[in-house]
């Protein structure tokens, strides 16, 4: 594979070092961005995120990236959303009521049910649909308190179970969203990032 160039959106306090390190290990050239033109034009874009939906959406809004991201995803340009990044693609989250997500995916993130250890921290098994091109079946590392329960129609999904089934990842063409952290999921996660980079 020729050397790929990837931009990583600076979504506030996300732990970007691990994402950058994973991309570097895969031989990609990665850099951080807050620029609209990068969101519009770059071939490969990672939307990472930790922390709260409200804080991350405020940062995107302040940087003028909300519309460019919506358009990018609507056009199907290669985008990898990670953890909170996936929840940012939704309409919203129980975590930050009243805050609009990017709305690229139908649905709202909800908190895990009572009686579980929350946050979900650790490796959970995920199972991808047979048609998945990027996502796979194996163990992935999660760090989340909220999740999407119902898979949106028209997307290929990977599901996991923690107090009931939830969406671990979804993909459509080169637009991929992971509730888990592929950059922290060992060789399994690196393979997902590699296949995503090769998907366009």
């Amino acid at each position: 594979m020729s050397q790929r160039r990837v931009v990583v959106v600076r979504t506030g306090t996300a732990n970007l070092a691990s994402v950058l390190a994973a991309l570097k290990r895969l031989g990609a050239v990665a850099r951080l961005t807050e620029e609209r033109s990068d969101v519009e034009r770059s071939d490969l874009l990672v939307l990472p995120g930790v922390g709260t939906l409200a804080a991350a959406m405020r940062k995107l809004s302040d940087d003028g990236l909300v519309l460019p991201l919506r358009e990018r995803i609507a056009r199907g340009k290669a985008t990898l959303a990670i953890c909170l990044g996936m929840q940012m693609l939704l309409e919203g989250s129980e975590e930050s009521e009243g805050v609009e997500g990017l709305g690229a995916l139908p649905g709202f993130a909800e908190r895990f049910p009572e009686g579980l250890r929350v946050p979900q921290l650790g490796w959970n098994s995920i199972e991808a649909d047979a048609g998945a091109k990027v996502l796979g079946t194996g163990y992935a590392y999660f760090a989340n308190s909220y999740r999407l329960v119902d898979a949106p129609s028209g997307w290929t999904v990977a599901m996991a179970d923690y107090g009931g089934k939830f969406v671990a990842g979804i993909e459509k063409g080169s637009v991929v969203a992971c509730q888990f952290h592929p950059e922290l999921s060992g060789a399994f996660g690196l393979d997902i990032i590699r296949r995503w980079m090769e998907s366009c």
């Binding site: 306090t13 732990n15 070092a17 691990s18 390190a21 994973a22 570097k24 290990r25 930790v50 922390g51 709260t52 579980l116 250890r117 929350v118 946050p119 979900q120 921290l121 650790g122 490796w123 959970n124 098994s125 163990y139 590392y141 999660f142 760090a143 989340n144 308190s145 179970d161 923690y162 952290h181 950059e183 922290l184 999921s185 060992g186 060789a187 996660g189 690196l190």
Partner: protein, 251 residues
């Protein structure tokens, strides 16, 4: 199903692993990056790096160490030891930590837990509790690497910290640490009942059965140092044994 995490812990001073022991295939037993990569290769689910440096120069070296470990590592990295404020935590995260452990500073200023959780999220905020059982059978929080008694009830402290925003508790039994007599199951089960956040059991593990007991008592993860460093166990063998005991692990 969420699996039980096995977490090797590296004590690092001035950029070097303390108690590092020679392994096959390791050029330099004292190098944290090499040792972390070796454990990942054995199937470690996460690595914890504890900075035990006592000087500002040592702390600077720790940041470089975190960055070097990060370059190698594709599993989560938790870093703790000497974190005094949000600025220290930010520096560690920028260097490549995924989670930051706080201990003494949080006891002295519980507001730090709130600040960390608001800024980085609860999933990044690990409260380390060192506890021991006093003469009356009560679990007391101790700080300053075991040198200072606080009079604080460990169960109450865990409950409060979780409310303030701690997303995980790294629970070390100070009287078991280094004894190889097993984790303090009473301590684990009482804290597991008091909070809903995950608990990492630490202090006293000598074998897989100790770890299985900790999980049954309510731990979501088990941390150990010497059994790995001295080559008594590889992570892979430990997972084989745990799996044989009916504990779900990633293999």
């Amino acid at each position: 199903m969420l699996t039980v995490r096995i977490i090797p812990c590296l004590d690092v001073r001035d950029g070097r692993v303390v108690k590092g022991v020679k392994f096959q295939g390791l050029r330099d037993a004292g190098d944290p990056a090499e040792q972390a990569a070796l454990y990942e290769g054995q199937g470690a689910d996460e690595i914890t790096l504890l900075d035990v440096s006592a000087t500002p120069e040592g702390r600077g070296a720790a940041l470089e160490t975190v960055a070097r470990v990060r370059e190698q590592l594709s599993v989560p990295l938790t870093v703790g030891g000497g974190v005094r404020g949000v600025g220290d935590a930010q520096a560690l995260l920028s260097a490549g930590a995924d989670k930051v452990g706080i201990n003494t500073a949080a006891v002295e200023n519980p507001e730090l837990i709130v600040e960390m959780a608001e800024r980085f999220g609860s999933q990044c905020t690990v409260l380390a509790i060192d506890a021991w059982k006093d003469d009356t059978g009560r679990f007391e929080v101790i700080t300053h690497s075991g040198k200072k008694r606080t009079g604080i009830d460990a169960i109450e402290w865990a409950r409060r910290a979780a409310i303030l925003g701690a997303g995980e508790i790294l629970l070390t039994s100070w009287d078991r640490d280094g004894t190889k007599s097993g984790y303090d199951l009473d301590l684990i089960s009482r804290i597991a009942a008091a909070v809903e956040v995950p608990i990492i059991a630490s202090g006293g593990a000598a074998d897989a059965s100790h770890m299985a007991d900790a999980v049954k008592a309510g731990a979501s993860a088990v941390l150990a140092a010497s059994i790995f460093h001295y080559g008594e166990y590889t992570v892979a063998r430990l997972k084989d044994e745990l799996s044989g005991m009916g504990i779900e692990v990633r293999r």
